[in-house]
Symmetry: C2
Subunit: 307 residues, 2 copies
């Protein structure tokens, strides 16, 4: 079995690559850029380019049995600023990928969607996979449309499809530009003695999943014959204020917090029901939040030491 990982050099992709290599899989990566934090992995074929370039994509799909699609050209914040760009850079290339899977008869696709964005403001928390999808921002609207196209091609073209909906992953190799990933952003600001900015009163609740737990779930789903849709979270809700407390405990540093007026309508509480992945894939999250934050902090301090 040969697996093509679209976005295999990214934060999430790099951890999935580790797990797939450990499981003895044959791997090819298509990414726009090499990994940022380590040299190329031995025994992996790297192709550099954009999967929206059809020539590059078709070449990368040669002899592939499973495609793992991890690429998103946007994060929620950038998608909101340019909804047309969100559609043209994410939805349209993914339809192009599906067309290629159909033409080349590639039988399996695993796609990384979003557990935080596709449900909108949930009526049920923790939220199960069959909850209605009423996304409230462009990022979620495009993810939901992509999921629908994947389901359509799956039904009509005999492609086995799996959709993973991660909550908020955090851990080593996550970027910390401040546009996504509150744990990474806050840990880096704490390291540099900077004030933490919180939109609202810090009561917003999210479900944080440690990156290797997410990677384990994705790899379990690739190696499983089970298809369908899986939430990938910790199943536990943590408020921003609780995140800050944990960060203070782990780092031993006192956080200066600047609470600012809420900028836009947001989802007040997002926690995923992870029962399906536990039942069907025999997976469960292994890393408590404080432990994950410790591992993340250790990595940040080690990286800072290298510079």
């Amino acid at each position: 079995m040969k697996i093509l990982v679209l976005g295999g050099c990214g934060f999430i992709g790099s951890h999935i690559m580790d797990r797939l290599l450990a499981a003895g899989q044959s791997l090819r990566v298509l990414d726009r850029a090499p990994e940022r934090f380590r040299p190329p992995l031995a025994g992996v074929e790297y192709v550099f380019g954009d999967y929206s370039d059809n020539t590059i994509l078709v070449e990368a799909l040669a002899d592939i049995d499973v495609v793992l699609h991890l690429v998103s050209a946007t994060v929620p914040g950038t998608a909101a600023l340019d909804p047309v760009g969100d559609v043209t850079k994410n939805l349209i290339p993914t339809i192009g990928l599906l067309e290629n899977l159909r033409k080349l008869r590639i039988p399996r696709l695993v796609y990384l969607s979003s557990g935080g964005a596709v449900y909108g403001i949930p009526e049920q928390v923790p939220t199960p996979e069959d909850h209605a999808q009423r996304p409230t921002n462009s990022y979620g609207i495009v993810k939901a449309a992509i999921e629908n196209y994947i389901r359509m091609y799956g039904a009509n073209e005999d492609i086995a499809t799996t959709i993973i909906r991660p909550s908020n992953p955090y851990g080593p190799r996550q970027g910390h530009m401040g546009i996504q990933g509150v744990v990474a952003t806050f840990l880096n600001r704490l390291r540099q003695g900077e004030t933490l900015q919180v939109w609202g009163d810090g009561s917003v609740v999210r479900d944080y999943i440690y990156i290797t737990d997410l990677a384990d779930l994705v790899v379990s789903s690739i190696l499983s014959t089970q298809t369908g849709v899986y939430n990938a979270g910790s199943g536990i809700g943590t408020s921003i204020n609780e995140v800050i407390s944990t960060l203070e405990e782990v780092t031993g540093r006192k956080a200066e917090v600047d609470y600012r007026p809420v900028r836009t309508v947001d989802v007040p509480r997002s926690i995923l029901d992870i029962g399906r992945a536990q039942m069907s894939l025999g997976w469960k999250p292994q890393t408590a939040f404080a432990e994950g934050v410790r591992l993340h902090w250790d990595w940040i301090m080690a990286e800072a030491g290298h510079k």
Copy 2:
């Protein structure tokens, strides 16, 4: 109040124009082509062009209070053949329209979605508006994504938005190229003594709404302060075989039917729950199916006589 009707020269648009004129509204139409079956309406401003052309759209939006968006560049059959075209010709221009409404502070949008496509295979029949959306074809996926963007701009930008989800409209001025509109297609084939083609055994159930009933609902929603989502159907299910029986009765002609194997996964039964429009808009359908078919047939025969 000045209303811009995108697609005002089409089958559905032309009937809505009649009703809006009768209600004394000030009207501008933006359409790619003039009406096919009658001269331009007196007192209406016509602009010819494509609403995806931003220059044309911005000019057409000058001094407008309400936009009624009836344009679809695809029908379900053509959308399935070219999903990327479906996205680029429908979703992207509609986001462009929403961006212009935001920039120009136009406070009201009424959009014609689809009651047959956005729900997918319904778990509840008749299907109410808050039923989950699991569209199974590109046409429905794009309509659902457009609805999501309309809701998003409505929530964030203070645009009052109404979404109408029609079932299967039929009646005078409907095209009969055979790609959409089983009543129009079959009536025209009966007129010409041609065989009717049915995919499957004729048991598929749809909800047929006479065109002036749909136009009345749309006009009621424009003139109402109520916003939100409204199904627009008859609330009654009619199988293809029942359609054919009614057509035979009305026309006095015997149908030759060619039953063919089902080509693809289809929705077996689609009937809309129309309680919300009845309650909130004080609307109800006035035209029984046999009566609507009679009016449609009379128009077809009169048109044929003109040629």
